[in-house]
């Protein structure tokens, strides 16, 4: 039987269920656990499956202090294959689990004017565009950081394309997401910014493999 992976946790899973309603197993790997469910095949990419994957991960937060989500679609052949796949990443996963303990993620997207899609007429113009884009990103990020610095444990920033300047993921203590939203609503003009969360800390795991 194959195992579909949902998350890594600091404790065995208790009462959590997966995409197909299956009780989740907590397979011990070193000093943490891999929360997974037995299945024959990987799920197809449907809205139901995506929401179900997320719901299973959220349910793990009820019994675990640290939950590190696994990306959708990760399937292994069984417990042995699971350990072989995860063991080389154990120290990175342990570190990430310690980092996200007692935390949840807020995700902010900062939008601006669309970058020109026309090819640059020269190398100089290309570099000038890059510099302008970088400056816009920095100008958008600074007030956000200042506003929520007192709530943030950690941060991940990802550059966007088109109108999306940046995606900023902030790790905040569980229970502080309302304060995070309130701080942003009070300080930052709503145009050009979207906030979502709380999420499990999707953006704070090590990206390795594949």
């Amino acid at each position: 039987m194959k195992l579909y992976l949902y998350a890594f946790t600091d404790r065995p899973t208790a009462g959590a269920h997966g995409l197909w309603g299956e009780p989740l197993l907590g397979v011990p790997v070193g000093r943490f656990f891999a929360a997974c469910g037995p299945t024959a095949d990987a799920p197809a990419v449907t809205a139901t499956a995506l929401r179900g994957h997320d719901a299973a991960i959220r349910s793990l937060a009820g019994s675990c202090q640290s939950v590190l989500p696994v990306r959708f679609g990760q399937l292994v052949e069984g417990e042995r294959a699971l350990r072989e796949a995860v063991q080389p990443l154990a120290s990175e996963i342990e570190g990430a689990l310690a980092r996200v303990a007692g935390c949840e993620q807020m995700t902010v997207r900062l939008f601006g004017e669309e970058a020109s899609s026309a090819p640059a007429a020269s190398g100089t113009e290309h570099l000038l565009r890059l510099r302008e884009r970088t400056a816009r990103r920095a100008a958008a990020l600074a007030p956000l950081r200042q506003t929520v610095a007192h709530l943030c444990v950690d941060e991940r920033v990802e550059a966007g394309t088109g109108r999306l300047l940046l995606t900023v993921s902030h790790l905040v203590r569980r229970g502080r997401s309302r304060d995070y939203r309130a701080a942003l609503e009070a300080a930052v003009p709503p145009a050009g910014i979207t906030v979502s969360g709380p999420w499990a800390p999707y953006a704070f795991g090590p990206e390795v493999g594949l």
Binding site: K2, L5, F8, D41, A42, A44, V45, T46, A47, T48, L50, R51, D54, R58, S59, A61, G62, Q65, L68, P69, V70, R71, F72, G73, Q74, L75, V76, E77, A81, L82, A85, V86, L89, I93, A96, E104, T107, R109, G160, T161, G162, L164, T167, S169, R174, G175, S177, S196, G197, P198, W199, A200, Y202, A203, G205, P206, E207, V208, G209, L210
Partner: protein
């Protein structure tokens, strides 16, 4: 007052687009079989900015 973790994570205001971006584009990747398909087309990697036009290809819940 003590905060119950389950309550916290159940309050998310999650649009489908947000779910797609977090679940498909983030999270730990381990070695294993990765089989993702949308409308019969194998799919390995998605980004939010690509999903403005691709989200309607995610199969409806009744499919």
């Amino acid at each position: 007052m003590a905060v119950v973790a389950r309550d916290l994570l159940e309050e998310a205001d999650a649009s489908l687009l947000d779910v797609i971006d977090h679940v498909l584009n983030k999270g730990v990747v381990v070695r294993g079989e990765l089989v993702l398909a949308v409308a019969g087309v194998d799919l390995v990697y998605l980004r939010l900015d690509a999903l403005f036009c691709a989200a309607d290809r995610v199969a409806p819940e009744s499919a």
